[in-house]
Amino acid sequence: MIDWIAIFSNAAQELISPTTAAYALAALGLAIHFGYTGLLNFGQAGFMALGAYGYAISILSFGFPVWAAVLVGIGASIVFALILGIPTLRLRADYLAIVTIAAAEILRLIFTTNTFDAITGSASGLQGYKTGFAALNPIPDGTYGFGPFTYNAYDWWIRIVGWSLVTVLAVVTWLIMRSPWGRVIKGIREDEDAVRALGKNVYSYKMQSLILGGVYGTLAGMIFVLPRSVVPANYQTSLTFFVYAILLLGGAATILGPVIGSMIFWVLLSFFSGFVARAVEAGWLPFMSQVQAGQLRFILVGVAIMLIVIFRPQGIFGNKKELAFVK
């Protein structure tokens, strides 16, 4: 028999999991890049890796307090954005795509190589950087919550911090996108020469957008490693594509899209993996092994996303009217 309660409760947990919050933040950053400014950043995984490693290395190797470690991560991503942006933002959009995807891979390989094992932990990564963050936890020890949402004090602390950050940054994004700054940014997405002819420093605006979205990705990387350890294999190109999938699912030029998109993505992923694993166990899928079942969830999620993109290409929160004019 299939334990439906366990499948649904596991799926429900993903609604507020820190990983979902991290992906929502990363997708919000991409919404600024891709949805609003039209910058094709395929290196969001690189920004997330800088957040994760910047935070963990500052604490482990240099003994920094939490706030300083966060600032180091943000500083690293600003430098990264400048390095990517200075040569490519004057060129056409596709050049940025190529450069970002390559730069993110370079970062991951640097973190993986044995040469810097003493600092990066190479392929096995880093752990033991959580004490500082746990010490800030004001929640007394114990277990709280109801139903599937029952966690200990540390797990609640990560969730509260993660989702507060998502809320604050979503509101900030909403504010800036309805301001004159957002108007310039959206104008650049439509035609940067026209915006230049109106006296706006397009290069500077694109750089600001790249930095801002990158900082969101960096903060996402920090939230991402709080419930787990820092492992370089997590920052492959596929991470960027999952974030893109979330963004397109929710709607590229929307605020709620990346947040709700991340929730839907992770709930679906958890539901499919729980269902398939238990279905194989129960002998419903005799042609399949447990290992194959583990991969099937990505196929099913892929199909689900394809269906959404075909039948609702503007995403869940996108404006249907925009589609009438897509070139």
């Binding site: 504010l175 700054w181 230049r196 006296g199 420093n201 925009e322």
Partner: protein, 304 residues
């Protein structure tokens, strides 16, 4: 095209703009834009090679010439969208060499494009408001605090609505610019250019692809710019329109300025006729080839 348009009123032409004879590169009484030795080559092709040209202030100047004469390239060079290989050029007494396009625009030299650049997925009103200069809320850090820019934004909106009303686009203000017709986009682009109170408006083929009814209203808008004290420089192929509204005409061919003068005179200039029809259009190319001439004569006789 617009040859069947009957002008509603004869515009008042500005005269006495030049000093000395009206010849290529002649001096103007009060030039707003001066280009000297501006040269741009693409590989082996010299697209623009302008020895000297001055654009008179407060008048409507037309830049005409056959296709490939380098008019649009010259526009791009003047506005910072392209860099010349050599030369100096100045606007209002300030050199524009190495000045990026956005700064040129801030100095008051606003241009439009041959292929209209309406910002499709922005509303018509947002398109307009983007044109205003010196907006406080365009700074990232100030943009999160609406109380810093709200008042200025309201003023810009009021101004945008007023200009939209003049261009009869106010009913479209909440529509996406992408939903406008080609002619309406031309109007929007011109209206948007006015949002920054420019001193010199450069219009690249404002009439291309616009129906005759709209042409007339566009003409009136261009004349309106002049009456408001702005200088207009425009590229156009429609000679009827050039004759109707331009105070001064500059003719380009093969990258060079070949003639200048008031529209009536310049149209008679042999250099202009050469530029459009070819320098040998009235010479008999067969004059030295008696055999062909014989054959041609026979052909003509046959037809008669």
């Amino acid at each position: 095209m617009s040859s069947d348009v009957t002008p509603t009123s004869t515009p008042v032409k500005t005269t006495g703009l030049h000093v000395g004879d009206a010849e290529p590169g002649c001096r103007k009484v009060d030039p707003i834009l001066i280009a000297d030795g501006v040269k741009r080559t693409f590989g082996g092709l010299t697209a623009v090679d302008v020895a000297h040209v001055e654009v008179p202030r407060g008048a409507i100047t037309a830049l005409i010439g056959p296709n490939g004469a380098g008019k649009t390239t010259f526009f791009n060079l003047l506005t910072g969208f392209d860099k010349p290989d050599a030369g100096t050029w100045e606007f209002d007494g300030r050199s524009l060499a190495h000045v990026p396009a956005y700064r040129v625009a801030r100095m008051g030299l606003i241009r439009t494009f041959q292929l209209t650049k309406a910002l499709g997925l922005l509303s018509v009103l947002d398109n307009m408001m983007l044109g205003a200069k010196g907006q406080t809320g365009e700074n990232l850090f100030r943009s999160v605090l609406p109380f810093l820019w709200r008042k200025q934004d309201d003023e810009i909106e009021a101004k945008a609505l007023e200009i939209l009303a003049r261009f009869k686009l106010e009913a479209k203000k909440d529509d996406y610019a992408a939903s406008l017709s080609g002619g309406q986009r031309k109007l929007l682009e011109m209206a948007r250019a006015l949002m920054s109170d420019p001193t010199l408006v450069m219009l690249d083929e404002p009439m291309a692809g616009v129906n005759p009814a709209l042409t007339e209203s566009l003409l009136d808008h261009i004349l309106d710019l002049k009456s408001q004290g702005m200088t207009v420089l425009f590229v156009e192929h429609d000679m009827h329109m050039v004759r109707h509204i331009a105070d001064w005409v500059i003719v380009m061919a093969e990258g060079k300025i070949v003639a200048e003068g008031p529209p009536q005179n310049v149209m008679q200039d042999p250099a202009v006729i050469d530029a459009y029809l070819g320098a040998h259009h009235d010479t008999d190319l067969g004059a030295t080839d008696t055999g062909h001439v014989e054959a041609l004569k026979e052909l003509i006789d046959d037809e008669q």
